[in-house]
Every structure is written in C-alpha cells, then in structure tokens.
Amino acid sequence: MDVLYFAWVRERIGTPKDKVDTQAATVRDLVEELRAREERYEAAFADLSALRVAVDQELADFDAPLAGVREVAFFPPMTGG
C-alpha cells in the first residue's frame, strides 16, 4: 500500500511517500503501526484531530476499513481557494 503525506505532515515525517506492507484493518490501526516506527512518525500523528485522511483519494474517517485499499494519504485540514 502507498502511504502519502502532504504539507507539514510530509515535512515532519521527512518523506512524501512510504510503501507499507500492512495487515491493518482500519486507518486507525495503520496510524498505530506508523507511530510505533520512529519518533518522527509519532510526532506527526500525535494529534489526530489535527489530521485528515483520504483513502484511495476520497476523504475518509480514521475508522475506514483498509481491505483492498491501494493508497492512503494523511494531511492537515485543507486550505484551498
């Protein structure tokens, strides 16, 4: 699965993308796996209320299931326009 990061999430983690081999059932489970990796991931995911998530390029909840999903992205609230 591709895990993408944007804006300050990308900066805090230090990469725009990870290839992750995971059995995580939901986005929340995936977040827990990532947090356990390294301090920079822990820092980026410290406050989930400051983050938004997209699953296969659609906005989703942290409880969204990951079965069959190819791409998950984490980013701060959007500021378009």
Partner: protein, 146 residues
C-alpha cells in the same frame, strides 16, 4: 465542466471571455477570482501544494454537486499550485445559468467547498520564516449553510 489544476498563470479576462462565449442561452455568468494577499506585509512566496489525482477528483465532485443543485449551463474551476507572489491570481471559478441567482449561489457553493474539501495547502514564506496557513473554523462552518 472544465476543471484545471495548473502551475502556469492564467489570464482572467481571456478565461472569462472564453467561458462566456461557449455558453448558449445563458443570461448570466458569474466569476470569482482568488488573489494572493500579503497579510503580514513581508510575504515573499506563497507556496501551494496539492494532491495530484485527488485534487482533480475532488474538484470534479464539487462541480457535479453544483450541477445537481442548480440549473447551470457550465462550470469552470481553475486552480494553480506552485510558488506564487502577492497579487498573483491563485484561482477562479465561473458559473453560467439562465437567471443570475443560480450562477451566484453555485459560485459561492463552489468556493465554500473548494476551501476545505479540495486537497490544497498553502505555505507562506516571508521575512520571519515559513509557515503553513491554518484552516479557519469559519471556512468549515460555511459548509453548514448548504
């Protein structure tokens, strides 16, 4: 429906004229343009990041929703990314309808959704360093009226 996400600048007059010219039987065209503001007086560069692929999908979905809610001829959404400077044009929307109310309302709807549901992020580089622009509660609250 015309959805464009691009790094290059655009010509507002040319886009508005071309949009109006390709409508047929429409009595109203409304355009909105977003411009980079130097709020703190010291802005060097406004960097706009986006999520290629999702951005186009999200904008298409928002435009489709506008078509479903109002009687519209056409919808244009054009949004830039990359490094912009104060007074540069960031984005524009245009809507066309038979009577003005639909075009006005649809343009406001597009802007409200585009602000907090299209994956763009702004970073201001200025005299005192660089900072990501925080989303505003008012922008999220604005969605409630639709």
């Amino acid at each position: 429906m015309d959805i464009r996400v691009q790094e290059a600048p655009f010509d507002l007059g040319q886009e508005a004229n071309a949009f109006a010219a390709r409508q047929s039987g429409m009595g109203a065209v409304v355009t909105f343009t977003g411009i980079v503001r130097d709020v703190a007086e010291g802005l060097d560069v406004m960097e706009i990041e986006h999520y290629p692929g999702m951005t186009e999908r999200a904008l298409t979905k928002i435009a489709e929703e506008a078509h479903a809610r109002w009687s519209l001829g056409d919808v244009l959404i054009l949004h830039r990314f990359g490094r912009l400077r104060a007074d540069d044009l960031i984005m524009m929307v245009a809507t066309a309808s038979r009577h003005r109310a639909d075009a006005f309302q649809a343009a406001e709807f597009l802007m409200d959704y585009l602000k907090s549901r299209a994956p763009f992020w702004k970073k201001e580089h200025g005299r005192d360093g660089a900072d990501w622009v925080a989303a505003r509660d008012e922008d999220e609250a604005a969605l409630g009226r639709w």
